[in-house]
C-alpha cells in the first residue's frame, strides 16, 4: 500500500510541474499544446546526460535547460513570428516524438548501476515537496505580486497592458521560458526518478493530461494541485489496479482507459454553461491570440 501512495504522489509531482508551467504560459496568453513534446525533450536529454556522466543532478539541469530552450522556441514562433500557436505547439510535439526516439533509442534500458534518484525512506522523492512549494510560489506570484498582475494583464488584454507601460513581449517570453523549464523538469523527473529507465515514448499521454489539468484547474494553482493529486492517483491506479482492487478481474486495458475517460468527463462538466459562468472567469481572454503592436 505505501509504495502505491509514494508512486501516486510522484505521478502527481510530474503533473504538477508540467501543468504549473503550462498554467503560467496560459496566464500570459500563450497556449502551448506541445507540452507532451516538452516533457519528451526533458525526459530524453536528462536521461542521456545522466547515463553518460553518471550524474543525476546534471541530468536534471540539462533536462530543464533543454525544456527552457524549447519553450523559447515556442515563444519565438508564437510571440515574435506570431504564427498560429496550435501549429507551433503541434510541431514541437511531433519533432520531439521523432527526435527523442532517434537520439535516445540507443540508450533504451534502465539507468546505469549506482545512478539513481534519492527517495525519502525509499518511498517518495523529495521533489514532491518542491512541487508543492512551487504551487505556492506560482500562486503567490500570480495573485500577490506586481509581476503576477503584469502577467495576468498581458494574458487578458495585451494592448491595454502595453498602453499602461507593460512590456508584453518580454513578459510573455519570461512565462514561456519558465514554463518550458518546468515542462523539462517534469520530463526529467519522469525518466530519472519515476521510471528510472528509457523506453520508446515514455511520456505516453501524460503531457496531454497535464494540458487538460490546466483547463480543469480553471487557471488556479491550488485547484491544479488538487487535480494533480487526483490524476496522479488515478493514473497510478490504472497502471497497477491489482493493489487496490485485487478481485475485480476486468481486463487490464479497461483500467488503462480510466485516466483518459475521467479527463473527458471533467472537461465536459466544466464546459457546461452553468459551470463556466460561475467558475470559468479566470480564463485568460487573450489565450492563444498573437499580439502585434500596431
Amino acid at each position: 500500500m505505501w509504495p502505491f501512495v509514494g508512486k501516486s504522489l510522484e505521478m502527481a509531482t510530474l503533473f504538477m510541474f508540467a501543468a504549473l508551467g503550462e498554467l503560467l504560459n496560459q496566464r500570459s496568453g500563450v497556449l502551448n499544446v506541445g507540452l507532451e513534446g516538452l516533457m519528451l525533450f526533458g525526459a530524453a536529454s536528462s536521461f542521456i546526460t545522466a547515463t553518460l556522466t553518471g550524474n543525476i543532478l546534471l541530468g536534471f539541469l540539462v533536462g530543464m535547460s533543454v525544456g527552457g530552450a524549447v519553450g523559447f522556441l515556442h515563444g519565438y514562433l508564437s510571440i515574435t513570428l506570431r504564427v498560429n500557436q496550435v501549429v507551433s505547439g503541434m510541431a514541437i510535439w511531433i519533432l520531439a516524438f521523432g527526435l527523442t526516439t532517434y537520439l535516445a533509442n540507443p540508450f533504451t534500458g534502465p539507468l546505469p548501476r549506482g545512478v539513481s534518484s534519492w527517495r525519502i525512506g525509499d518511498l517518495l522523492s523529495p521533489l514532491f515537496f518542491v512541487g508543492v512549494g512551487l504551487v505556492f510560489v506560482i500562486w503567490f506570484i500570480l495573485s500577490k505580486t506586481h509581476l503576477g498582475l503584469r502577467i495576468r494583464a498581458v494574458g487578458e488584454d495585451p494592448s491595454v497592458a502595453e498602453a499602461s507601460g507593460i512590456n508584453v513581449v518580454r513578459t510573455r517570453y519570461l512565462c514561456v521560458i519558465v514554463g518550458g523549464v518546468l515542462g523539462g523538469l517534469s520530463g526529467a523527473f519522469l525518466s530519472l526518478t519515476y521510471l528510472g529507465s528509457w523506453s520508446h515514448n515514455p511520456v505516453a499521454g501524460r503531457g496531454w493530461v497535464s494540458l487538460a489539468l490546466v483547463f480543469l484547474s480553471m487557471w488556479r494553482p491550488w485547484l491544479l494541485f488538487a487535480g494533480a493529486l487526483v490524476f496522479g492517483t488515478i493514473w497510478q491506479f490504472a497502471l497497477s489496479p491489482e493493489i487496490i482492487l485485487p478481485a475485480l478481474g476486468l481486463p487490464l486495458q479497461f483500467y488503462r482507459m480510466i485516466p483518459f475517460a475521467v479527463t473527458i468527463v471533467i472537461l465536459v462538466v466544466i464546459s457546461t454553461e452553468r459551470f463556466r459562468k460561475r467558475w470559468g472567469l479566470a480564463k485568460p481572454a487573450a489565450l492563444g491570440l498573437p499580439y502585434a503592436k500596431e
Binding site: 499544446v33 504564427v83 527526435l99 494540458l211
Partner: protein
Amino acid sequence: MKLEKRLVLTGRDALKISIFSIIATLVVFSILLIWAGVNPIEAYREIFSYAYDPRFGLGLTIRRGMFLLFATLAFILPLRAGIWNVGVEGQFYLGTVGAFWVGYTLSDLPSETLIPLMLIVGALCGAGFGAITGYLKGKLNVDEIVLAIMLNNIAYWLIHFLIVGGPWMGAAESVSRPLPVSAWAPMIGEVPSTTLIALAISVFLYFLLTKFTVGYQIRTLGSSSAAARYAGMSPLKISLFVMAVGGAIAGLAAYHLWAGDPGFHMIPKPQTYKQQGDLTYYGIVCGLLCVLNPLAAIPTATFISGMTVGSTALIRRLGLGFGIDFTLLGILFLSLAAFQFFYQYRIVRRKKEGEVI
C-alpha cells in the same frame, strides 16, 4: 528589403511558402545527416530513388500516400470549419474495429457484399467517434484537441483489448486473427482499389467546399463563429457534420490499410498498429502544407509518403537510427510553422523611395 503586411494570400503565394518550407526542411535535415556521418546528397538520392522505384518502394509509397490522403482529408474538412481534428488516429482505430467486426462475423458473404459492408461499417464507426468530438465542441465548446487526444488513447486500448487476450486474439501472440480471403481488397497491381475511393473523396470535398451551400457554411464558421451565428447557421450542426464526415473518412483509411496491404490482412501487434496510427498525424502536416485544399492534398500526400518511405530506406541501408522518419516530419512541421509568418507578411524589395515592387 522590407517586411510588409499581406492583405490577401493567393493560392500561388501559399504554394510558394509551402515549397520554401520544404526546402528549408531539407537543408536543416542535411545538417542532422552530416552530424550522423552521412553524406546528405547521397541520402536524398537514396530517399527518392528508393521511394519512387517500382522495384522497391513505389507500391508502398502509393499505398501509404493514399492512407495519408485519407488522414489529410479527415483533417482538412473540420479545420475548414475551424475545428482541429487531431482525433484521426482514434477514428482510424474505430474504423478498424468496425471493418474487422464485419470481416469476422459475416465472413461467409461473398466479396461483393462483404467488402462494401466492411467499408460502410468502418466509416460509420469512425463517423460516430468523430461525432463525439463534433457534438461536444459544437454544443459546449469543449477544447477539441485535448478531447480528441483522450479519445485516441481510449481507442488505442480498445484495440489492445480486442487483440491481446480478447475475442479477436489470433494464433500468434498479440496479433488478431487473419481476415478471410474474401475480405481482402481487390488490387490494381500493387495498389488496392480503395485508392479510387480516396481520390474520389478529394474531388467530392473540393466541390462540397466550393460549390455547395454547406461548404459555404463550413467556411463561414471557420472564419468567424459569430458571423455564422448571425447568419442563422447552427455551429452545432456544422461542427457535427464536419467531424462525422472527417471521422468517416478516417474510418475508411482502416480498411484501405489493413485489407489493402498484403503485409497485413490482420491487426498486427500493438507496437505496429500504433506506428500506423501515428502516421495519421502526417495528415496534419500534409493538410497545412496544401493550405487545406482537398485537390492539392493528392500530390502533397504522395510526396510526403515518398519521403517517409524513402527515409525508412535510410534506416536500413545507411544504418541510421529508428525514429529518423518522424524527425524529418517534425522538422518539416516546425519549418512550416515558422514559414506561416509569411502568410501575414511578405518581403518586398524597395526600388526607389516610395516605389515598391
